[in-house]
Symmetry: C2
Subunit: 342 residues, 2 copies
DNA sequence: CTGAAAGCGCTTACAG
DNA sequence: CTGAAAGCGCTTACAG
């Protein structure tokens, strides 16, 4: 009683059927007569019976749990992702087990995750060493890196087409007449930041322009603010900045306005990446590259479902198209038009 | 093998001890000799053994799972809450099982939650009918409403001191010289919105002022934008607006600036509630009431741990103090000073 | 300290 | 369609 108490045996007794019959009445597709099912359901209702998902998981080997590992939620891209993910997974009959990681405790984290017999692991805003990915592979647990990848690890991943996105942004800036163009990176070891940067260089090169300056923001507000200050400290200022994600761009814009009295985009153009909800807010109206959370989640669920069902065993890498969203934070090249206001 | 495979019996065999000994070696505080534990750990290491958390949960009756139920994550207050919650709970040895709910499927949701044998349920940005709360009580699962409460249900809750917060805001506005003061509510049936409003009225009354106008924003961007438009449609406009939460206030400010060409706070003062991270951003610099997510989470964990351990059985209601954060979205009364910039 | 045994609440062959 | 039985991988009295 102290644990809730009602079991399938209790229901069986009341309904005068076997315990197996009760189990079958609650398993879609099991062979039970309508009459038996009805008796069982009635008894279950009366007793307030609810199948124990843990016992079911134990015996069936399917926990219905999928781990989502994140490191922080202050970048609004991740909450959006988690909401989509959670809804999509619930739709498929899975539940999200959330893990917040600190960089460093990777090893214990993976152990903990695996103890819960999760059917898959989604790593968002966090990454996995290839040795840890190997651990997971050994248990047959599919792992998917969301919004990042590790080139050396044979792990599934879903990313935006960061190269193409960076390229789009470079063209946009050069076509807008900018020549002293700077870049503020996220983390140096982030595949996402690196790809966006590489694409940006390619785009600049295609227009015959070379990067003016570069700084690192570390994906934090404070880091981005510092990067902005060093970039604009000298008189020889950039006329445009590509910030590796929206989250940092908000901090950059705040610093340029408040501390340098700069007007955007008249004095300097800012472009970024992600198109988080705040990017459309009136206080910023960021020109940015959208990476659709809905599309990324759809691809994630596709890959994972295939791997869980063993229809696929090979890791798969999905890439979501990048789409430029033109708003008001950067000078607009002739012939291009901005999105309608929010 | 297909399921990962290594069990405590496998380890026992290799270590030449009983299966119970293996179990004890992995239970902190169990009585095992150092020698046995060492043998077991070595064998476990070699085999890659990891205790099955589900089996442990089954037998011990403690799943280590706590359900967090939310309805949406676009209001940044909730991601912040979830991050704190998840870290605090992990610290205590619990893991967050995340449920996204749609208003309406309340019943099936609770059934699903309870099937997982969670040790407690935290309802944030969602609420529970008293009949469903009763269901949970019947199984002995503590339920806590976070940032809301249901007066009729004997359920634990943690809220900000919304009455006091509303009062503070009213005084601030009146002392700032405003007389045509409007309020934009969240949902009419939200205890949080109602309490903020009630406190606001009290504060106005204490200064001999009566509310000028009122509209409902429904906690959404679109709703808040619509509310702002109706409030400002006539020539007889408010000179200040208290918006029930920050999230809606951003939309209100955007509309007033973009569609009515109003300057804030020169033409109209805006105050709100929550102090989400964006409230400090340069584009808004909201004067708002902070409700500390860290404090709310600390109270939540306190209450829940006591109830899980059966040290407490009575529902408890905790109230977190409200603190006014003065920034630049409202005219500042003489003698008061604003927070330093971000 | 240690092992044999019972049992948590289910699912799923196996016979009938 | 139905029931008896085995078993998922553990924890925890119970003896020794």
């Amino acid at each position: 009683m102290s644990k809730g108490g009602v079991t399938s045996s209790d229901v069986a007794k009341l309904a005068k059927v076997s315990q197996s019959a009760v189990s079958r009445a609650f398993s879609p597709g099991a062979s039970v007569s309508a009459a038996t099912r009805k008796k069982v359901l009635k008894a279950a209702e009366k007793l307030g019976y609810r199948p124990n998902a843990l016992a079911r998981a134990m015996i069936s080997g399917r926990s219905g749990l999928i781990a989502v590992v994140v490191a922080y939620l202050d970048n609004q891209f991740y909450p959006v992702l988690i909401e989509h993910l959670s809804r999509a997974l619930q739709e498929k009959g899975y539940q999200v087990l959330l893990f917040m990681t600190d960089p460093g405790d990777q090893d214990t984290l993976v152990q903990k995750v695996l103890q819960f017999q999760v059917e898959a692991i989604i790593m968002a805003s966090a990454t996995l060493s290839s040795s840890l990915a190997g651990e997971c592979a050994k248990t047959g647990t599919p792992v998917l890196l969301l919004n990042r990848y590790v080139p050396s690890a044979p792990t599934s991943s879903v990313t935006s087409d960061n190269l193409e996105g960076g390229r789009l942004l470079a063209h946009f800036l050069v076509d807008g007449g900018h020549r002293r163009i700077a870049f503020i990176a996220g983390n140096e070891d982030s595949s996402t930041s690196r790809d966006r940067e590489a694409g940006f260089y390619r785009g600049l090169a295609e227009r015959g322009v070379v990067l003016w300056r570069r700084a690192v923001g570390g994906y934090t507000f404070e880091g981005a603010a510092r990067a902005a200050r060093t970039l604009f400290a000298s008189g020889d200022r950039p006329d445009a900045v590509f910030v590796a994600n929206d989250h940092m761009a908000f901090a950059v814009i705040d610093v340029l306005r408040a501390e340098f009295a700069l007007t955007i985009p008249d004095d300097v153009s800012i472009v970024a990446y992600d198109d988080v909800p705040e990017a459309g807010w009136g206080g910023y109206r960021l020109t940015t590259v959208a990476q659709s959370a809905a599309d990324m989640v759809a691809a994630t669920v596709d890959i994972l479902m295939a791997q869980i069902d063993r229809r696929a065993v090979q890791p798969r890498a999905a890439m979501i198209p990048a789409r430029l969203v033109i708003r008001d934070s950067a000078r607009i090249p002739p012939g291009r038009t901005r999105e309608p206001g929010r």
